[in-house]
Symmetry: C2
Subunit: 232 residues, 2 copies
C-alpha cells in the first residue's frame, strides 16, 4: 500500500492519458492518494486479472502492452482488445460491484500497472466538483469508446470468410490511421485469435492475398495496395 509514494510517478504522463485528461498534473498526486493508488510490475504472460475475479480497482497500464482475452474450456483463446500505455481496464467491472470477470487481462510484454479504486467516485452521494467530476466525465468517455471497440471487433468477425475478416480489420486500420502503411499490435497468432480464425489458415490466406497483389506484409507491418478501394 502507498506503493507509489516511494517511486517516481510521472504525473505529466498521467495527465496525457484519457483518464486524467483535463486535470492539472499538479492536481494529480492528491487524486492518486484519494484513489488509493498502487503499482505492480508484470512479465510477459503474467495474468493481471483473471476470469472469475471480482475487481474493485481499475488498472491503468503505465507501459508495455497487455491483452484482454478469454479462454474456453478447450483452451481456445479469444482476444477482445489490446491495451497500450495509458489505457485503463476493468472499469466496467469496477462500476458493477460483484460482477465476476468474464475475461483475463494478460501482459503480452513486460509492463507496469497502476491500480486505482474508483468505487467511491460513484458511491459517494451529493455534489461532486473539480477533479472528481472531471474523472467521472472521462470515465464515461472511455467507457463509450470501449463499447465502440467491442462493436468494431464484432464487425470484423461478422464476415464468414477469413479474407473478409482480414479486409474488414485491415481496412479499418488503414482508415483510422490515415495511411495504407501501418503496424498492428498483434502477431499472427494474436491476430487470428482476435479475428476468431485458425492461425495457419489465416497465414495461408494472407500469402494468397500477397500473391494477388492486394497487400504486402511482414510480421507486424502491413502495406495495403491502393488499387483496391480500401479507403472509401
Amino acid at each position: 500500500m502507498d506503493a507509489f509514494s516511494d517511486i517516481f510517478v510521472d504525473t505529466v504522463f498521467l495527465s496525457k492519458t484519457m483518464l486524467f485528461s483535463g486535470i492539472d498534473p499538479a492536481a494529480i498526486e492528491p487524486v492518486l492518494h484519494c484513489l488509493d493508488a498502487s503499482l505492480r510490475r508484470y512479465n510477459k504472460g503474467n495474468v493481471i486479472f483473471s476470469a472469475g475475479d471480482k475487481v474493485k480497482k481499475i488498472g491503468l497500464l503505465l507501459n508495455g502492452t497487455a491483452s484482454i482475452e478469454s479462454n474456453d474450456i478447450w483452451g481456445n483463446r479469444s482476444i477482445l482488445d489490446s491495451l497500450t500505455a495509458g489505457k485503463i481496464f476493468g472499469e466496467n467491472y469496477a462500476f458493477l460491484q460483484d460482477e465476476p470477470l468474464m475475461v483475463n487481462v494478460v501482459a503480452s510484454r513486460p509492463c507496469e500497472v497502476m491500480f486505482l479504486n474508483i468505487r467511491h467516485l460513484i458511491e459517494h452521494e451529493g455534489c461532486s466538483c473539480g477533479p472528481e467530476q472531471k474523472l467521472l466525465q472521462n470515465l464515461l468517455q472511455i467507457s463509450a469508446r470501449k463499447s465502440l471497440h467491442l462493436s468494431r471487433r464484432i464487425f470484423h468477425t461478422s464476415a464468414k470468410t477469413i479474407r473478409g475478416r482480414l479486409l474488414s480489420y485491415l481496412s479499418y486500420q488503414a482508415i483510422s490511421r490515415g495511411s495504407t502503411s501501418f503496424d498492428i499490435p498483434y502477431n499472427r497468432q494474436e491476430l487470428s485469435d482476435y479475428l476468431g480464425v485458425d492461425r495457419s489458415a489465416m497465414s495461408f490466406e494472407l500469402s494468397k492475398m500477397q500473391k494477388e497483389g492486394i497487400l504486402e506484409t511482414k510480421r507486424h507491418h502491413f502495406d495495403l495496395h491502393r488499387e483496391n478501394d480500401f479507403m472509401e
Copy 2:
C-alpha cells in the same frame, strides 16, 4: 418539440428504468424538459437510427422491442443486441460527439421511443448535484452493463461450431434467469444473426440436439435438459 407535454408520460414507469433509477417520479417531469424530450412511434421494420447518422440524443424505448444490428455490403445482417422496454440506446455515440453510427437500430415490433438530449450533462462545467449527478451515475452503470453485453456476444460467437455457439448462448440464458425453461427475444433468423451462423444450418443443428435429448424448443421457447451440466 415539446412533444411530451400533450401526451401522457408515465413517470412511474420511467422511474423504474435504469436511466431514471433513484430519481423521484415527481422530479422526472422537469428533468424531461431539461433534456428536451420528444416522442416518436415506429412500426415493425422501421429504422430508428441509421448507420452513418451522428446522433445527438439518446433513445429510450418506452415499449415494444428493437434490435441493434449492422448490415454489410452484401446485405448480411449481424445483430449486436436486442432492446426491450426501458432500455436506452445510442448513448455511446451521444457521448462521443461526431462519431458516426456503425449500426442501425430497427424496431422489431411496433414501439415508442423517447429521445433525450444528454449532451449538456457532460459539457456543462462545474458542479453537478441532485438528479443531474444521479443521471450521470446511472449512465455510467448502463454503459458498463452494455459493454458486458457486447463482451458476452463475443463469447457466444467465439466457438467455432454452431452447436458450441448455441450452447454458449442458451446455457447463459438459463443461468441468468435461474431456470432451464425460458423464452428468448429472437426468432430463428434473428438468433442466427446474433450468433453469426446460417439460419438453416442452425435449425438443423437444433433439431439434432432435440433428437439427442439435449433440449426441447418451439419457436421462442426453450427447455434445456438438466442431465447436461449447463448450470455449473
